[in-house]
Amino acid sequence: MAAISDVNPFVQPPKGDNDFARVTDNVSRIAEVNRPPRAWYIAFGISTSLLGLFGISVAYLFWEGIGIWGNMNPSYWGFPIVNFVFWVGIGHAGTLISAILYLMRQTWRTAINRFAEAMTIFAVICAAVFPGLHVGRPWLPYWMFPIPNQMQMWPQFRSPLEWDVFAVGTYATVSLLFWYMGMIPDLATFRDRSTSPLRRALYGAFAMGWRGSSRQWHRYERAYLLLAALATPLVLSVHSVVSFDFATSQMPGWHTTIFPPYFVAGAIFGGFAMVVTLAVPARQFFGLKRIITINHLELMSKIILATGMMVGYAYGMEFFIAWYSGSAYEGFALLNRAVGPFAWSYWAMIFCNVVTPQVFWFKSMRRNVWVIFFVGVLVNIGMWFERFVIIVTSGSRDFLPASWGYFIPTAWDFATLAGSFGLFFTLFLLFCRYLPMVAMAEVKAFVPAAHASGDHH
């Protein structure tokens, strides 16, 4: 077998006699080469193994029941909800980049928005799995939706958990529409470059006959703007609604008005950390360094630093409010986080989320891909711990000391968590292999040649 590195299309400069063609070539050939880079195979092998583990965990869960997890009185939410909130949080950066940065005319986003959006969708898929599993009766989650059921009952719309169903459902759907719509012109490029009839038929079907007509572009851009305007409040609302699950309850440590903004900041923080964690290897292995440049990574590092400090501020503010409220229970709940039985998770969170991003004060660190990658990974870990801290420490020390307990996850908890990463990365790697990883049409609109007309704007 000839070594793949013999002819590595990803290190050769992109072909084409103008900038537009070079962008097309750079992005398209990722999906056109016969063999993706070796790293892709390794990553795909690991991911699909984890996906298999996920399948086994879920099958065993359905067979045996949620007793296989560590969720126990009084910590009923346990890992499934920690994972749910974690994944929903990850799913924020994509739509933030595509919608909010679009409205703010941050043109640099074009290099990264497509795969950040893809990441969003896959993260939301992982998130949506968990509440479904957590209800414990996998054949009954349809009760959450307003469809007639045999009990002649309807969902209870005054419950934040029901709001969640709508918030996450809408977010997933709108992100998918946004992602798909953005991809139509690029799928058309793939269609027009394809050499095999099968590829032509498949990409062609999804490109829906896009031929780049300006009259169509006009409506397309309007639709994109409208979707961006709709998605913007949506991004901010999803994690706010998720935080209502906590904030509208009576539990000390949850019942706080700071939760919605704090959750949203945390989600953007975690989401961007995931984007850089994926962007660094992706640009490395797929030869996208000319498109996703170090400048992009630096900008994202700045966002991570800023949102990380917002999150740090929220951690501090929680203590202040607990003290200022004079509520003995609030005070206890917060102290218990910092010095109680789960203090290790609290300090892990502080270290990962508040301390590590501080390296980004230095320009040299913001431009060092290794540092960026590791901070990204640590922040992801920290954000997972944040949800663990909120859910487990409050849950295991509620109002009734008689029901206090220590939460101990089981091997199945870890298997399901690891498995969800398998699901996420498998989907992501398939995306890298078969779909346009960078929004070519959008990038082209911003290369200097696009404005050669002596544009007066």
Binding site: G16, N18, F20, A21, T24, F62, W63, E64, G65, G136, P146, P148, W154, P155, Q156, F157, R158, E162, F166, G169, T170, T173, V174, L177, F178, M181, P185, T189, R191, D192, R193, M208, G209, W210, R211, G212, S213, S214, W217, H218, R219, Y220, R222, A223, L226, L227, L230, A231, P233, V241, M440, A441, K444, A445, A449, A450, A452, S453, D455, H457
Partner: protein, 414 residues
């Protein structure tokens, strides 16, 4: 090969071929395209278009494209989404299936706002994508331009302009001259598409029809199940979840002689700390009638009353009001909402309650009465007595005269 040649080199429309669809000009840069567009626009053509790999800045004006009506479609969808959310929540929770949840109103706007927002956005997003596709006449499987090999570059790096032969102003020679004046890199004719089938293959159509019909079968079964009756027990998909390794009340248990899983209390035994044999203190009774005195361990004192007041404030005042008039905040709010589900708390200053033995009041606090729940689980017996003592003090406070005040302090009242 011959085909190829015809495709890329032909610039004149020859007789005997497929009818002419239009004239296609190709440009290298956005500037050239915009300049050309302005000329074509000013020449008064209507059936023409430009094709570009990305949305070219300024082309809308150069082509005279009017603002699309898409935003209005989206606005319509937003209003529909909002209305749906309002009607759905109101009908489902306040009309068709009324949930009584912690005395909350069946229908309140703040609690339904999140779903208003979500459905508004959801409907609008579908309208934005769907409306864009519909207005753009997509999906469009084939187009005469697809026959031009070089047109594939439109999604890569080239810019095109085509004037359709169907335009009223179209004249092959004049239009050609006009386009030549815009200095295209290539000028080409586009013929009507006679090669691509105009219909989908019949096999595919029937296949899709069969799949579509088959996909309705599960729904048909569900619909049937909603009305049909069945003698069989339901299917247990996952046995371990339905039959768990635990016993519930009223289940059979092979181990015990009486075959019951639920164990009755063993006669003549009492759990540690549960003897509670003092009838007066724990049940408010003396020789089987309601006690008219407080148990000996509950001595009237300022401290005891203070304690009673505190507990009354916590447990009773929300409904009965701090003075016991039955006007606590919960009650006031419930009456404002006028849902018809609220039984007003009793005013404790009524005569029959003034006459009522303290033992019976104690029992009311312990076990509740009619619509009022019992608080025996939440409040210790001593505190329940102190609440009753405070209640008595409240009642007394409405039946006083100046004579009740010690002589020495009467002066202070004047």
């Amino acid at each position: 090969m011959a085909d190829k040649k015809k495709d890329s080199d032909q610039t004149e429309h020859a007789e005997g071929e497929a009818p002419l669809h239009g004239l296609l000009a190709e440009y290298d840069s956005t500037a050239a395209l915009i300049a050309a567009s302005k000329k074509v626009r000013d020449a008064g053509f209507e059936k023409w278009d430009t094709y570009t790999p990305f949305p070219v800045h300024g082309i809308d004006g150069a082509m005279g494209i009017k603002m699309t009506k898409l935003p209005w479609i989206v606005l319509g969808a937003a209003i529909t989404g909002l209305t749906t959310a309002i009607l759905m929540q109101w009908w489902m929770n306040a009309v068709d299936y009324k949930y009584i949840i912690s005395g909350k109103p069946f229908w309140s706007i703040p609690a339904s706002v999140p779903i208003y927002f979500e459905l508004t956005v959801l409907f609008s997003a579908f309208a934005a994508l769907g409306g864009m596709l519909a207005l753009n006449n997509l999906p469009l499987p084939s187009h005469p331009l697809d026959l031009k090999e070089r047109f594939a570059k439109v999604t890569d790096d080239k810019f095109f302009l085509m004037i359709q032969a169907a335009d009223a102003k179209f004249d092959e020679r004049e239009t050609r001259a006009l386009l030549e004046g815009t200095h295209p890199t290539v000028l080409d004719v586009v013929l009507e598409d006679r090669t691509s089938p105009s219909k989908l293959p019949t096999g595919l159509v029937y296949g899709l029809l069969i799949v579509a019909t088959a996909s309705l079968i599960p729904f048909a079964f569900i619909a049937k199940a909603r009305f049909a009756k069945s003698e069989k027990t339901r299917v247990h998909v996952v046995g371990d979840m339905d039959w768990q390794l635990k016993f519930q009340a009223q289940q059979a248990h092979p181990f015990f002689a009486d075959g019951r899983a639920e164990r009755p209390e063993i006669p003549e035994t009492v759990a540690v700390g549960h003897l509670r044999e003092d009838d007066h203190l724990f049940r408010g009774k003396e020789q089987d009638t309601w006690a008219r005195t407080f148990p000996t361990s509950i001595e009237p004192s300022a401290d005891a009353l203070e304690r009673g007041k505190e507990k009354f404030g916590v447990y009773c005042a929300p409904c009965h009001g701090f003075a016991g008039d039955g006007d606590g905040p919960i009650s006031v709010r419930a009456q404002e909402l006028a849902e018809g589900t609220w039984v007003p708390p009793t005013n404790v200053h009524q005569d029959y309650l003034r006459q009522m033995p303290v033992g019976q009041l104690f029992d009311t606090v312990t076990h509740g009465i009619r619509n009022m729940a019992g608080y025996g689980q939440l409040i210790e017996p001593e505190d329940r007595w102190k609440i009753v003592m405070y209640l008595r003090a409240l009642q007394r406070s409405r039946q006083t005269s100046v004579d009740d005040v010690p002589e020495a302090e009467r002066g202070a009242l004047k």
